[in-house]
């Protein structure tokens, strides 16, 4: 596992609108995520958690502050450099999967590689490997409409981690899945962490957040709290020690 900071957010604020209609979506956010670490962002609707994720993924610019991905500052990059970073280093998983309906599972997974200039044959080979890792090889030739929600989300995860991504950003990744399929998705994200990927997940559900190494809490655009270093689990199974 490679160590080091995959994502560093420093004093980031985001303001929408001006004057009386001004909305402070984020205020003075500091957040660092190491390779191999999973961080969950919790907060109510409108707390800024999705905005924070899009800024971390370079899909949106902060009004002030800096974002570093793999040590490089996004604000100092050209458009092309940022586009390349988004293709090569960052994987996105969304609630509604965002698979292209006209492409098979394998083609969906291969797409970001092909966009990055890798030839179609090689991209397909790598994509099949990623599907295989998620026990989805048998679905490679299927279209999203023929797959269950759980399978679609696994394909979306395969697409997000294919190649050599170091940062995986997931917004409510278990969406409408039932809790057991949702747990399957969280196990996959955890497995990515074990391979050295940094994972940031946005959720309002505590049982999903509890898969993370660290949970940060947003309220009204500010980071108000975070969990401490998780203590060992031993205490739970010894009678009389749970609080």
């Amino acid at each position: 596992m490679t160590s080091g900071r995959a994502l560093s957010i420093e004093q980031v604020s985001k303001v929408y609108g001006e004057g009386p209609t001004e909305v402070h979506a984020l205020q003075d956010i500091d957040l660092g995520v190491n390779r191999g670490e999973m961080v969950a962002i919790m907060g109510p609707s409108g707390s800024g958690k999705s905005t924070l994720l899009t800024i971390a993924g370079s899909l949106e610019d902060p009004s002030s502050g800096s974002v570093f991905v793999d040590g490089s500052e996004l604000g100092a990059m050209t458009r092309n450099q940022r586009a390349q970073l988004r293709r090569r280093s960052i994987g996105y998983v969304f609630q509604d999967f965002n698979l292209l309906p006209g492409l098979t599972a394998a083609e969906n997974v291969a797409l970001p590689l092909e966009l990055d200039g890798i030839n179609a044959r090689k991209a397909r080979k790598v994509a099949l490997g990623a599907l295989d890792d998620l026990d989805l090889e048998h679905r490679a030739a299927h279209f999203p409409d023929d797959m269950s929600g759980g399978e679609c989300q696994r394909v979306a995860i395969a697409r997000a981690i294919v190649g050599d991504r170091h940062l995986l950003l997931a917004d409510e990744p278990t969406g409408a899945l039932d809790s057991i399929n949702g747990e399957g998705v969280m196990r996959l994200l955890r497995a990515s962490c074990q391979r050295g990927v940094a994972v940031v997940i946005v959720t309002h559900e505590a049982h999903l957040a509890s898969w993370a190494d660290r949970v940060v809490f947003l309220r009204d655009g500010r980071m108000v709290d975070q969990t401490g270093t998780p203590p060992g689990p031993e205490s739970l199974l010894a009678p009389g020690t749970t609080r």
């Binding site: 509890s210 898969w211 809490f217 199974l237």
Partner: protein
């Protein structure tokens, strides 16, 4: 958890020895409820007294004595499985009381109080989830027990979230008045009481 019914359930699979019953009980509950040796044997004695199990008549009570379930034990087990547990919560949940009290104390930010509890719950859930993620996926007993705890905690977190949102919609000045006991609140108390 009723040790009595757990033992009946194990015996419904076939006759077993005391020691075997203890080991299977521990394995079947993900070893979350360690049982002391005496508890198994005293429970078996009572089950035999009530005619719900029969022993093979060996001399002393102990690990080597064999037991089987009787017909009336089978009926008792079936009835227990279908009897709803007591779902009505205790009338004065400690966390609810703390939040209600926090609302009345000047200078206390109730959102901070709520957050302290939310963080504590999520930290506890992280530990449980860690146990589940490290365990063999085939360990069904452990997964079910851990899920039950996780969903219980999750429900409390959701109550805290809902409370946060309700309070945000209400101006601070209106809050104290809103929680001061009224005839309506008295009626609610009686209604809830009638549920129990």
């Amino acid at each position: 958890m009723s040790v009595r019914h757990a033992l009946l359930a194990l015996l419904s699979e076939g006759p077993k020895y005391g020691l075997q019953l203890r080991q299977e009980f521990e394995a079947g509950t993900g070893e979350v409820w360690p049982l002391n040796v005496g508890q198994v044997y005293t429970t078996l004695q009572r089950l035999e007294r009530d005619g719900l199990v029969e022993s093979d008549g060996g001399e002393a009570d102990g690990p080597q004595k064999g037991y089987r379930i009787t017909e009336s034990g089978g009926r008792e087990l079936d009835e227990w499985l279908r009897t709803p547990p007591d779902l009505v919560p205790p009338p004065r949940d400690e966390l609810v009381i703390k939040v209600l009290v926090a609302l009345r104390i000047p200078g206390i930010d109730v959102h901070d109080v709520i957050q302290v509890h939310r963080r504590h719950l999520v930290e506890t859930m992280q530990r449980f989830t860690h146990v589940k993620s490290e365990a063999d996926e085939g360990d069904l007993g452990l997964a079910l027990v851990v899920d039950a705890e996780l969903f219980r905690f999750e429900a409390i977190v959701r109550w805290l979230d809902a409370t946060d949102s309700r309070l945000k919609r209400m101006p601070e000045a209106a809050r104290t008045a809103a929680i001061t006991p009224t005839p309506a609140a008295g009626r609610l108390g009686r209604k809830l009481g009638a549920l129990r």
